[in-house]
């Protein structure tokens, strides 16, 4: 069973943190297909957060096809991320390396690169295409 935690200073909204933690667990193999996620009540008891937040996170995961609620029983993992993300990692890494090379050639130092990346990353909310 996954153990959730919350960092309110991270700038990431609580429900997104939960989603990310589940995804990370799936990626790392800590959660497998068929495992049950903690119930809403359990998460609320541990973290003292709004139950709607938990529901929203679980709905998001369901929307991504990662989990499936079974009425009366709980929410269960239906898919892991290990394979999927690994497959996407390599081409993305290559593109990133190429981009980094271009940025360095243009004269940007480390901090500028990081600032450019961070501001652009934040401006494009998850799932929105420009």
């Amino acid at each position: 069973m996954i153990d959730f935690s919350l960092d309110l200073r991270s700038g990431v909204s609580p429900y997104l943190q939960l989603v990310q933690q589940v995804r990370r667990a799936l990626r790392l193999g800590l959660l497998d297909v068929g495992d049950q996620l903690p119930t809403v009540k359990e998460v609320v008891a541990k973290l003292a957060i709004n139950p709607n937040t938990v529901l929203k996170a679980y709905r998001e995961l369901e929307h991504e096809g990662l989990v499936q609620p079974r009425p009366g029983l709980g929410t269960f993992v239906t898919r892991t991320l290990v394979d999927e993300t690994l497959a996407a990692h390599e081409p993305l890494r290559r593109e990133l390396r190429a981009w980094l090379d271009r940025a360095r050639d243009a004269g940007l130092d480390d901090e500028s690169i990081e600032a450019l990346f961070t501001t652009t990353f934040r401006r494009v909310p998850d799932g929105v295409t420009r």
């Binding site: 609320v44 003292a48 139950p51 934040r122």
Partner: protein, 301 residues
């Protein structure tokens, strides 16, 4: 769907002192709503009116579609925990539950008993001997075990230490998960709000400054950092809530419900809940315009 609380130009004056002025706000059901504002903003008054304990001077208010406090049925739908969680010092915990059972038609004795047992409260203990946190939990149990549709809490954690505060919020959220009850929680401590509230109403100096879903508000507030001229270059529809300028740079907190900022050249980043709230409260308090500071290094060169 009926709103949890709907007010229209609600006003309450104590003598000449205005506690609420022309408050028009709609609070949705099924949410945990944070009523935020500094001391004396009118939060207690608004909650007291919604609970039927105070009569307004003028304006209208509707709670779950009914008039607050008008009869037993309406009172049974709304639970209320007053500031500093009053309890009868001479009565034991068990007698308080008996009080609840006798005065509330919808009392869930099993829920109350389970909660008291889980909290580790001794039913034979007199309420005067409980700690502040335990008293708050008892008051919360009394309000929640009557299975209301709406829970109003007036700064229930203000006087509690951090651990007791966390325990109280945990207990409150467990009730929300179990009963599906809507909550309106007033606080002037911002730290707890983000984990608990999914809707915010900002009150300051008897007026409403801001109201909306927490997520939406956070998504439409930005901190804009840029060269001095950036403040003037902002597109229309962007409300500058707070601005600080140095000789070269401006730091603004802005509210951009229309998303116009994304297309401007200024650098915008998200702003945290605390800073967003503080920016609005500062503006409402009529703070002096942000001082301009000369950078000493510049002057020396």
């Amino acid at each position: 769907m009926t709103a949890a609380i709907r007010t229209e130009r609600l006003t309450k004056r104590y003598g000449r002192h205005p506690a609420l002025t022309d408050v028009t706000v709609t609070v949705p059901t099924g949410r945990v709503v944070g009523l935020v504002g500094p001391n004396g903003a009118g939060k207690s008054t608004l909650l007291g009116i919604a609970a039927g304990l105070i009569t307004p001077t003028s304006g209208e208010i509707e709670v779950l579609g009914g008039r607050p406090g008008q009869d037993t049925a309406q009172l049974a739908r709304v639970g209320f925990v007053a500031q500093d969680t009053p309890v009868y010092g001479g009565l034991t915990v068990a007698e308080h539950l008996r009080l609840g059972a006798g005065l509330n038609p919808g009392w869930d004795a099993e829920l109350a008993r389970q909660r008291i047992a889980r909290l580790g409260l001794d039913p034979a203990r007199r309420a005067a001997k409980l700690s502040g946190g335990q008293r708050a939990q008892l008051a919360l149990t009394l309000a929640a075990a009557k299975r209301p549709e709406l829970l109003l809490l007036d700064e229930p954690v203000a006087a509690l230490d951090p651990l007791a505060r966390r325990d109280f919020l945990r207990g409150l959220m467990e009730f929300v998960a179990e009963l599906g009850v809507g909550v309106v929680l007033s606080s002037h401590v911002l730290a707890d709000l983000e984990r608990v509230c999914d809707h915010l109403v900002l009150l300051a100096e008897s007026r409403v400054l801001l109201a909306g879903d927490t997520e939406e508000l956070l998504a439409t507030h930005y901190r804009v950092v840029g060269p001095r001229g950036c403040a003037d270059a902002l597109p229309a529809g962007v409300d500058v809530v707070q601005a600080e300028h140095t000789a070269r740079q401006s730091t603004l907190v802005v509210h951009d419900p229309g998303g116009a900022l994304l297309r401007s050249p200024c650098d915008a980043e998200p702003v945290g809940l605390e800073d967003m709230v503080l920016a609005h409260l500062t503006r409402a308090a009529g703070a002096a315009p942000a001082p301009t500071t000369e950078e000493p290094l510049e002057a020396r060169r």
